[in-house]
């Protein structure tokens, strides 16, 4: 392993999509042509001033950026330590960070001239964000969603349908997010001539982990400038939840070369690591190959992918983006867990203390930040990525409370 101080994090991935031993393109030859085409298009556009300007314009006028950096004073008082700042991705159009990526990939889709976009979704946030940009550009849209998730997330299913998307329930495998991703890949390889696949997280084959990261890095770039403006220095620590890891890498990436900024990625501890019922591959998984990349996975002794558990559907995924796997191994980012109960407590606390209803995913980050802040001094600053709003989760929370909504 290389010395983390000497690593230039902006130089990754390499040309083949590797982050150290992780990442790459582990797909059937049938998909390579489509991935080559996407990589070439992205490489030709990513530094193009016109493309950058179009992306920035959409972020400002359609998404509503920049999102505020908000000092959560009552939450800070509750923790009794470092100041807790919330990066308010929950205030974006469609209610989460996911739209940063779909706006960017929609521009790629438009440039490609393809008339149809597809996506996979778990909780439905990425599906909604994809259906939203498809509606805006007049593109046909199909969203693959595990049949189990279709049942659990009916409000988002209806939102997608209102936006004109076709929601296709996936009945194979465990009928959840990982199977939806398999099915979207199968659709893509079959319909590649007229279809653009908008992946929702920093996983999948190269170049997806790179381009999804780049589109979400606006979070960290803004947070960096806002930190200097609000408290005159860089934050002491960053905290974000990690499922696939797109909101976390979006916040972390622009700070990776700032070696004094500590970073914590919070995985879903579910019913606790010891129970085995969780979604924390970086804490309790092993490196393997799934969905086109080498990364940490939840698997059994035979190398079969196993089912995960989290109260938050958006973190319920057996893999994680390959850049996170690499950042873990070289020690640049600490990956920790918050369990279901801690996340629910944080959900309630943020709602009551600040009048902000966080997504259950983001509640994992808030839960860890409360613990972290308590051990730090009041002059220090923590930036927490509040990656999404919790309106979509009220039915889940109500069910846990035994209330019918």
């Amino acid at each position: 392993m290389s010395d983390k101080k000497s690593v230039d994090y902006s130089a990754f991935p390499d040309a083949q999509g590797h982050f150290g031993p992780f990442g790459g393109r582990f797909v059937s030859e049938t998909l390579i042509g489509a991935l080559d085409e996407l990589r070439e298009m992205y490489n030709s556009l990513k530094d193009d001033p016109e493309f950058r300007a179009a992306f920035d314009y959409d972020l400002a006028h359609y998404v509503g950026r920049p999102s505020p950096l908000y000092l959560a004073e009552r939450l800070t008082a509750e923790a009794g330590g470092a100041r807790i700042w919330l990066k308010r991705e929950d205030l974006n159009h469609t209610g989460a960070h996911k739209v940063n990526n779909t706006v960017g990939q929609a521009l790629l889709a438009k440039h490609s001239g393809k008339r149809r976009v597809i996506a996979e979704t778990g909780a439905g946030q990425h599906g909604v964000a994809t259906a939203t940009v498809a509606a805006r550009l007049g593109l046909e849209c199909a969203v693959y969603m595990g049949a189990e998730d279709v049942k659990r997330q009916s409000p988002n299913v209806y939102r997608m349908k209102l936006l004109g998307a076709e929601v296709i329930p996936v009945e194979s495998g465990s009928k959840t997010l990982k199977d939806a991703m398999n099915e979207a890949m199968r659709d893509w390889v079959t319909n590649v001539d007229d279809t653009f696949y908008i992946i929702g997280t920093v996983a999948g084959p190269h170049p997806y982990p790179q381009l999804v990261r780049d589109f979400n890095s606006v979070i960290g770039r803004e947070a960096r400038a806002q930190s200097l403006e609000e408290f005159g220095q860089l934050p002491d620590a960053l905290v974000a939840c990690v499922g696939g890891g797109s909101n976390a890498i979006g916040l972390f990436h622009p700070f990776l070369n700032d070696s004094d900024v500590k970073m914590y990625g919070v995985e879903a501890g579910g019913e606790g690591l010891a129970s085995g019922r969780h979604a924390a591959p970086l804490n309790d998984g092993v490196p393997g190959i799934l969905h086109g990349n080498r990364t940490y996975l939840m698997e059994d002794d035979d190398g079969q992918i196993i089912e995960t558990h989290s109260v938050s559907a958006g973190l319920d995924y057996p893999g994680v983006g390959p850049e996170h796997a690499w950042l873990k191994d070289i020690g640049r980012v600490d990956y920790v867990v918050a369990d279901d109960q801690e996340a629910l407590n944080a959900f309630r606390m943020l709602t009551r203390k600040e009048g902000i209803l966080p997504a259950l995913e983001s509640s994992h980050a808030v839960a860890y930040a409360l613990k972290l802040a308590a051990g730090m001094s009041p002059e220090q600053n923590i930036v927490v990525n509040l990656s999404g709003r919790g309106d979509k989760d009220i039915f889940t929370v109500a069910a846990i409370d035994g209330i019918e909504v």
């Binding site: 059937s28 390579i32 190398g303």
Partner: protein, 269 residues
């Protein structure tokens, strides 16, 4: 390559006889693990030249619905890579002639480790491997392990594979090339024999390896159509579908015998 192996010998013999190869696929453990080896023998008795034994995986991303369900059924019996190797060993007790390749996904091999896998495959009597999600640029370490044991590395080529990649892949490949006849997943139905013929002729400019055509071949007519320009046809989904519908092992063997026998006759006609 210093020595030949069963795959090379089989294609050499077919060439001498002026016949086309019939490559047959089934998922190990599908229909019950005790039925797999008898099914393999049945395939051979009905005219198969080479057996692709599918190694079940929880996330078979390149497969269409029929073979996906085959993987799911096999996993209900917890058919692991190790069990697949045991099945090949058992098959070899009665058949030392028919080539067997393992077709599957990278993660079960990654879990076992490339070197232990290559050792175990050689020891069990496997002749080669096709790992669907290990394209040429990621396949290096496993390919070397297999080659060092005189096992063959089967790779896919597709209608969208660039000339540069055809060159790289044929450089790594051995045994035969599996040409994917269409854009899509296994079992799709939009085969164009004329396009297949043109692509195969193009690929022959890069390699002397036998070219077998798969994806979308469901009967004697389609097998014959694609194999006219190629060296053989790969049949998978129709067999997996029949095994899935069969009431028991004997019914599965009967169904497979009918299908494979019919395709064999069409190829030899």
């Amino acid at each position: 390559m210093t020595q030949d192996n069963r795959i090379d010998r089989r294609f050499a013999r077919l060439r001498e006889e002026g016949r086309k190869a019939l490559v047959t696929y089934l998922v190990a453990g599908d229909g019950g693990p005790e039925n797999t080896v008898p099914l393999m023998h049945q395939l051979v008795a009905s005219g198969a030249d080479l057996i692709e034994l599918g190694v079940p995986f929880s996330d078979p991303m390149a497969e269409g619905p029929v073979i996906q369900r085959g993987h799911e059924r096999a996993l209900e019996y917890k058919t692991s890579l190790r069990k697949c190797l045991e099945m090949v060993r058992e098959f070899r007790r009665e058949d030392s002639d028919t080539p067997v390749i393992l077709m599957g996904y990278a993660n079960p091999i990654e879990k076992m480790g490339a070197e232990p896998f290559a050792d175990a495959a050689l020891d069990a009597g496997v002749d080669g491997a096709l790992t669907v999600d290990l394209p040429a640029e990621e396949a290096g370490p496993l390919s070397e392990m297999l080659s060092a044991r005189n096992l063959r590395n089967i790779f896919l080529l597709t209608p969208t594979t660039s000339e540069e990649r055809i060159r790289a892949i044929t450089g790594l490949a051995s045994g035969f090339i599996y040409y994917v006849s269409l854009k899509g997943v296994t079992g799709a139905g939009n085969l164009d024999p004329e396009a297949v013929r043109e692509n195969l002729e193009h690929i022959r400019g890069f390699t002397d390896l036998p070219l077998c055509v798969g994806f979308g071949i469901r009967d004697g007519a389609s097998a014959r159509a694609v194999s006219e320009a190629g060296d053989g046809a790969v049949v998978g989904s129709v067999l997996v579908s029949a095994i899935g519908e069969a009431a028991d092992g004997a019914a599965a063997r009967d169904a497979v015998a009918q299908l494979v026998g019919g395709i064999r006759r069409a190829l030899d006609a």
